[in-house]
Structure formats: C-alpha cells, structure tokens
C-alpha cells in the first residue's frame, strides 16, 4: 500500500508537468489547428536559459552547478523569480519569433506543409541548443533545500509540493484568464472560428500571439520544473517532452483544457504506478522498462475508440 501511495504521489508530480506542456499544445492547436512539434524544445530552452542565468549571476558554480550561497527567505524568492521569469521570457520570445517568421506566413498553407515546418523548427531548435549551450547533460540545482514529509507512509519532498502548488496556481490563473477576461473570450472566439472572429473585429493575429506566449510560458515553467525534479537538463529532452505532452493533449481531447490537465495527470500516474506494478501483474514477464508502452497503448486505444479524447468534441478529428 505504501508503495502504491508513493508511486501515485510521484506520478502525480510528473503528471502536473505533463499537464502544463499539454496545455501549450492544446491552446495552439485550438487557434491554429496545428501541432507545434517545437513545443517540447521550447520547454527545454526555458530550463537551459534559466540555468545560464544561474551561472551568470554566480549563484551556481562548477560542473555540477552546486549552489554556493544558501538560499533562504527573500533571497530564495528572488532567485526562484529570476529562474522562472527568465526562462519564461526566453521561451516566449523565441516562440513569438518562430510564430512570426515561420507559422504566420504558413497560416493559409496546407496542413501537411505546416506540420513539416514545425518538425523543421523542432530539429533546428534542439540542435541550436546543443551548439549554443553545450552538449553535456547539465546538472540542474533543485534550489530548495530538500525536506521530506510523510503522507500515508510515503515520502514527499518539498520540491514536489512546490511543483504542485505552482502548477495549481498557474492552472487557476489560466482558467480565469480564458473564461473570465476579454482576452479569454477572444481566444475562445478565435478557436471556434478564426475567420468569423476576424469579421467581428477581433484582432486575430494579436490573439494568436497571446496564445503562443501563454503556451511558451507554461512550457518554460514545465521545463524548469522537470529539470529541477530530475536534477538535469539535456538538449534532447525536448523530444520526450514533445511526445508525452502531445499524447496528454490528445488523450485529453485536444483543444479542451480540462481534459488536458486530467490526461496529463493520468499519464504521469500511468507511468509511475503502471511501471511499478507491471512486473507483478505480468508475473515478471514484463519489467518496468516497458512502462512507456502503457502510455502509448492507452494513446492508440483512446484515439481508436474515442478519437476526440476523453473530454473533446468529436467532429474535428475523424474524417468519415
């Protein structure tokens, strides 16, 4: 039982990160009907850049990026603010440049052309990161001094609590923005019908820019949380984040924000709990190294049975 609770808690933490990434996919898909393959790399870019900030300001030193000065109180808040805001800013700016230079000229092009360009952006971005930030697997400091709590016999670290609170706050903010503000109404209108929204006087370009900025900021937070949680970041991590974020977005019903969050958590849980119990369920035939198979199988099954995702609307995805 303890093991189950432990696995579930760990799974939920990573699930929150997936949910944040999935939201970025989902929102961009909502307004542009395109899959932004580069989203995973934008997340990693945020982490890479904030690490560069930490090193440039002398907070972390050496190959292992060890924190030299103890971070407490105001200092900690300032540093965390710098890390997250810096990362978000870098990802957002990059995302907007990509939107302006690549995606906007392709707005009326065929969907396949757009997909290929997104693929190109993803490849170019990850390799540019390799050349600019370096090839090594970078050790990323957790910034918080590790403390552990016990919940139902399982151990939970303050970093996990931090990630959970941060995610929940961001989600509340985002849902408020989308559902209650004018910008949110515009986003929903553009998602519903871009041309109609334009005719009604909404500045579609501005809305799309806002969506890209929001998606990239959430992605950067996810990327930094991922780096803090696993203690490392690497120029190729974006590919895995891309697949899992995309999978969450699709399982949840792309375009549906609540669905994305639920699916992200579900995938996190599935990975952790499924991985833990797979050997027991199969009598040792399949080890935990098969856990990703679970995720992909669930994805394929979801797409086949209910292609619109668990909460999505059916009409967009299947051509009769």
């Amino acid at each position: 039982m303890t093991t189950f609770v432990q696995q579930a808690l760990n799974g939920l933490t990573i699930g929150m990160i997936y949910a944040l990434i999935a939201l970025g996919y989902s929102m961009v898909y909502g307004v542009l009907k395109m899959v932004n393959f580069a989203h995973g790399d934008l997340c990693v870019l945020g982490a890479m850049f904030s690490l560069t900030l930490l090193r440039a300001t002398g907070i972390t030193k050496g190959r292992l990026n060890i924190i030299e000065v103890p971070l407490t109180g105001t200092r900690l808040v300032l540093v965390l603010g710098m890390v997250f805001l810096g990362g978000m800013l870098c990802s957002t700016i990059t995302s907007l440049i990509i939107e302006r230079l690549v995606y906007r000229p392709l707005r009326r092009a065929s969907i396949l052309t757009v997909l290929v360009s997104a693929l190109g952006v993803s490849i170019a971005l990850s390799n540019a990161m390799m050349l600019v930030f370096g090839r090594e697997m970078k050790s990323f400091p957790s910034l918080l001094k590790k403390q552990y709590f016990t919940v139902l016999g399982a151990t939970y670290s303050n970093l996990q609590v931090f990630i959970a609170i941060l995610t929940i706050l961001l989600l509340i903010g985002l849902f408020y923005l989308v559902n209650k503000t004018t910008l949110g109404r515009c986003i929903r209108a553009v998602a519903l019908d871009k041309d109609m929204a334009g005719l009604l006087g909404i500045n579609v370009n501005r809305v799309i820019v806002a969506v890209f900025a929001l998606g990239a900021s959430l992605g950067a937070v996810a990327g930094i949380s991922h780096a803090m949680y696993y203690g490392q970041t690497y120029y190729l991590t974006g590919y895995q984040l891309m697949i899992l974020g995309w999978a969450s977005a699709v399982i949840g019903g792309i375009g549906d924000m609540r669905g994305c969050v639920i699916a992200g958590l579900l995938i996190g849980l599935l990975e952790a709990v499924g991985g833990g119990y797979l050997p027991i369920l199969t009598g040792g035939l399949f080890g935990a190294d098969y856990r990703r198979i679970f995720v992909f199988l669930v994805l394929i099954v979801t797409l086949v049975i209910k292609p619109a995702g668990i909460l999505g609307k059916p009409e967009v995805i299947v051509k009769a």
């Binding site: 360009s117 693929l119 992909f296 994805l299 051509k319």
Partner: protein, 347 residues
Amino acid sequence: MSNYKNDAATSRSPGFSQVRRYWHALTKNTGVKRALFIGVAILLLALPRIITSNYWLRVIDIAGLYVMMALGYNLMFGYTGLFNLGFAAFFAIGAYCYAMLASPLHNMHLPFLIVLPLAVGLTSLISYLLGIPSISLVGDYLGLVTLSFAEIFRILVNNLKFTNASYGIINIDAIRLPFFTFKSVSDYYYLILLLCVVVYLIIKRLEDSRIGRAWMAIRNDEEAAKTSGLDTRRLKLLACAIGVAPVGMAGAIFAGMQTFVSPESFTSRETWLIIAMAIVGGLGNADGAVLGALLLTLLPEPLRGTPIESARTLIYGLLLIFFSLFRPQGLLPRRYWKGEIEEETSG
C-alpha cells in the same frame, strides 16, 4: 484552366519554369530522350568503375536505400496524404526480419530470396494492421499513432531477449543468391541499383494508374473522392501496405550489408531524414523523392571531418523550414493533370 496553371507557375518562379520548358522541349524529341536514357543507364552501370572510392560507393549504397524509403514515403504522404511518423520502425522490421532469419542468433540461415519477400510482406502486413484501427484519423493524429507505434516497437526491440535486446545481432550472413554472394560495396551497389529501379518503376506505374489517381483524389479532397464512389478506406489501407514495402526491403538489405543491427540504427532520426528527403525533392513526385534522397545523403558528406560538421543536423532542420516557406512543392513539383487546380501555396 490550363492557363491558370501556367500563370501560377510563372508567377512563382520564372527561372525554374523556363528551365523546365527547355527541358520539356528537349525531351519531346524521342531521339534525344532515348539517348539521354541510354547515357544515364550506362553511367549508372559503370559507376563503380568510375568511382573507385569504397567510401563514396558506400555512401551511394546508403543513398540508394534512402531512395527506396523516400519513394515509399512519397507514396504514403505525397500521393495519398497519410502522415506517417513511424518509418524508422518499418525500417527496423525489415532489418530485424533478415537479421534474425539469417544469423547465428537463432541458428537460422535462410537464403536472401526467401527472406526478402518475408521481410517485405511482414512490414506491409504490420503497417496494414496498424492502419485498420487508425486510418480514419486526420493527418497529425495518424502521425501520432504511427509515432507511438515506432516508440513501442523500439522499446520492445531494445528489451526482448528474442531480438538480443540492446546488444544487437552480430555476424549476420552476407546477402547471397544461389550462385553469388555479395561481398564488396560495389556488389551491393548493383543489388541496390536493381531494386531501386524496380521500386521506382512500380511506383511510377502506380502514379499513372487508376489507383494512383484515386490516391491523389483522396489527398486533394477525401469527401469528394468518397462521393465519387471511391472506397477511400480500402485505398488508404492499400497505400499503407504498399508505402512501407520498399522500407522493409531497404531494411533487409541494410542488415545484410551491415552484417550487424542494433536498436541505435533505427531512431526517429531516420524518420525525419526520410521526410526531409521527400519534402526537399518534391512531394507527390517519384522523381522528386529520388532527387531529394540523393541530395540529402550525398551533399552533407563533404562536411564530414570539417569544423562545421556538428551543424549538419541543424542544417536539415533549417532546410525543412526553408522549403515549407518558400518552395513547399519541392525541387521537382508534382505534375498536375488536366483540369486539376494547383494547391494554394504560401510565400
């Protein structure tokens, strides 16, 4: 209608269409056409005599494998519009099929002529089976399913004892026919050349056939195709099965000429390389796929060993962006039959 086509082509790139017009004028003359054909054939056959470098021949061999794969991709994506992101897995199926049936691993040494159809058949069958539940999904969703399949397949190959897990399979038999064993890179050159020509001719033939036109109709407008009485589902499944066949074939030959396979040869890198080739060459045109595959395997080679070799992957990515933006139809655009309106392009 044809006027519209010419206008569009002229306004897009006058220089290029000029060249094309000269080319058409030149090749209209059957004598010139025949001479060109014979010249190219002689050049291709004599290539191992002209290029004595094993290195370049090996690069050309690999380019030939990519030609086959790009032709397959072109059939699925270019003709029919099916977005497949799992080509690496089909390449691996072909390669592992040969590796397991012709190596000491399971103590099986079946001859190439038996394994090749098996590998091709298995690859097609798996693609067909994967297509049955997922074929009705729209573009990027199909991409996601095939990508997931490729990941699942990679995890399995990397862990199953049956495929010798991450250690890979060594000492795979060289490809042999009843009276001949392929040894050197130039031996393989002729094998690959032959199969490339076969695949090319088949696909070219399909392009002009009823099925080919039906595929293109599906790509252009599936609803319309369906209304005209086409069984779009069956046609798409057919494209799935036929499109990966050359990929399975390339995999089997790869295993034979490499004499070693391991999971690290079949990463997603292979998939997007093939996509880049089909895009750069020109989607929907078999000649384009051939050109793209040759260009993207041969051109980066001189960079090897120079200080900018680290940027090769970056260049691939930028090429994809560049072509999507400014020449989405690729270097050799697909031909439009009479009455068809060219796809609206951007830029």
